[in-house]
């Protein structure tokens, strides 16, 4: 079978799956929010409200597209795409499952795997900030601009801790490839990087919350202070694209946490598992982190901006530096 065709099929499959998952996540978010607040949540569209994302999508398509007066029209149109595209791009290297046979063609359930995939994700995901800050700036609104500025300041301060936490794992494994990192955690639950790098795990999870602009670090939106933050002036599908970007980024970050610290697609104590079991294991582990995103959002209040900066620069950065240093020392002395 033609390898290009396999590639295209895999891409369609993974992107279709993840975008469906992102749509489902919007429903899950409202459901979890409702449950935590002793409510029922959406249950009118379809059984148990499962068609709610579809209804929302149709609504978004039919809404009027507004461009505010004085906006930079080109950047205003470009910004949502620039926010959504990096999140989708970083999806390309996530290994969803191991080897699988595809009509007699052996391949892996990952769109690409190159030797530096662990660095590729933060590098590409970091570009998402351009969409947010340009969206904030080009809408010619003070709330949007403040939201964009805050988002950029926040992302810069947390990206460092995020990358250093990845670095600790990479040093442990001795490879920048996500596949090697997963292979390095083969075995039982006790072989997961979670136990070898607990501090890096905590730092990474906290940093992913900041990286994806989720509560308690959602300063880019910050409804009570900034109306809607960087997307105040956006409507219709442009707004939906920002949302899609945010949810895909959540999925990417949850998958990355799984891959780096929870053994990725490996089924514990069953290294010879077929690909669908591996995919299932991956989805279960990832869903836990996706649930954590929602769970934390509806539990914790938002930080104050100076608290956020203090936490980022005075706590997480030194801790992650120390963690990387100690890990490097131990590895080199061994």
């Amino acid at each position: 079978m033609n390898p290009v065709l396999v590639m295209v099929l895999k891409t369609l499959l993974i992107y279709g799956g993840v975008i469906t998952l992102a749509a489902g996540l919007t429903l899950a978010e409202r459901k979890v929010a409702a449950w935590i607040q002793w409510r029922i949540g959406p249950n009118r569209v379809g059984p148990w409200g499962v068609l709610q994302p579809l209804a929302d999508g149709v609504k978004f398509i039919f809404k009027e597209e507004l461009v505010p007066a004085g906006a930079n029209k080109l950047l205003f149109r470009l910004a949502p795409m620039m926010a959504a595209a990096p999140a989708m791009m970083s999806l390309a290297v996530i290994p969803f499952a191991g080897d699988l046979s595809f009509f007699g063609f052996d391949t892996r359930l990952a769109i690409a795997d190159f030797p530096i995939s662990a660095m590729y994700i933060p590098a590409v995901a970091g570009l998402g900030i351009y969409g947010i800050i340009l969206g904030g700036w080009s809408s010619n609104s003070k709330y949007s601009l403040l939201g964009g500025l805050r988002a950029s300041a926040q992302m810069i301060s947390y990206e460092l801790a995020l990358i250093l936490a990845i670095l600790a794992v990479v040093v442990m494994t001795g490879s920048l490839s996500l596949d090697d990192i997963v292979a390095g955690q083969r075995g039982g639950i006790q072989d997961w990087n979670l136990w070898r790098q607990p501090l890096a795990f905590v730092l990474f999870v906290v940093a992913t919350f900041a990286e994806t602009n989720r509560h308690p670090f959602d300063f880019a939106e910050c409804e009570p202070e900034l109306v809607g933050g960087f997307h105040t002036e956006y409507s219709s599908m442009k707004f939906a694209l920002f949302f899609l970007g945010e949810y895909v980024a959540m999925i990417v970050m949850a998958s990355l946490t799984t891959t780096l610290f929870l053994g990725g697609y490996e089924v514990p104590w069953f290294p010879e598992a077929p690909w669908f079991l591996q995919l299932g294991a991956f989805l279960v582990k990832t869903s836990f982190f996706l649930f954590l995103f929602l769970w934390v959002r509806w539990t914790l209040p938002r930080f104050r901006f100076d608290q956020l900066m203090n936490l980022g620069w005075k706590t997480m950065l030194p801790l992650s530096l120390a963690n990387t240093f100690i890990t490097g020392m131990v590895i080199s002395l061994r």
Binding site: A34, W35, I36, R39, W295, V296, T299, L300
Partner: protein, 174 residues
């Protein structure tokens, strides 16, 4: 002057994480609590005799004629000018009945003054609360829409007299 001493935080509290774990367990347990949502259209609002809903006209025992004699007291009592009455003659022992009795439900403020003003027990505040339609004209209710058999309003009528009796007793002792 009051000096408020700030509470000293323990190490665990200053680390955030144990406290975050504590509050997360709290909100996780909240997810399994009994839901407080009322599924409104399927699950209607609970009403009691005290519920002061929309005013309705009471029918006599024969379930045909209104108890109303179109005296116009409710029309006069209505602070929102929602009631319009045109009186008419009948051949029955009760010689008068309304030819037209309209309540503009968009003007009605559900105050219950009409109920208090009525000398003939002809108008009472029912437990009907829902009010929605597509035009203003459709919400001007006429006799056909307002009339109810006495049994449907009995709870409110009993409550009304109970409350009035209590008031009368209190005023007679003072």
């Amino acid at each position: 002057m009051v000096i408020v001493k700030r509470k000293e935080l323990s190490l665990a509290e200053r680390l955030y994480l144990p406290e975050i774990a504590r509050v997360l367990s709290l909100s996780f347990r909240a997810m399994f609590k009994k839901k407080v949502t009322r599924q409104y259209p399927e699950e209607p609002l609970p009403t009691t005799a005290v519920t002061r809903g929309q005013p309705r006209l009471v029918l006599l025992e024969d379930n045909q004629h209104l108890a109303c004699v179109s005296c116009g007291l409710c029309e006069a009592a209505c602070p929102a000018y929602a009631i319009t009455i045109d009186g008419g003659e009948t051949d029955r022992p009760i010689e008068r009945e309304p030819e037209r009795f309209e309540i503009d439900m968009l003007r009605c403020i559900l105050c219950g003054f009409c109920e208090e003003a009525c000398p003939k027990d002809a108008i009472f505040m029912s437990n009907e609360l829902e009010l929605a339609d597509f035009s203003r004209q459709a919400l001007v209710y006429d006799i056909e829409k307002l009339k109810r058999p006495r049994a449907a309003l009995q709870g409110r009528i009993d409550y009304f007299y109970g409350a009035n009796d209590r008031w009368r007793k209190r005023s007679s002792t003072s």
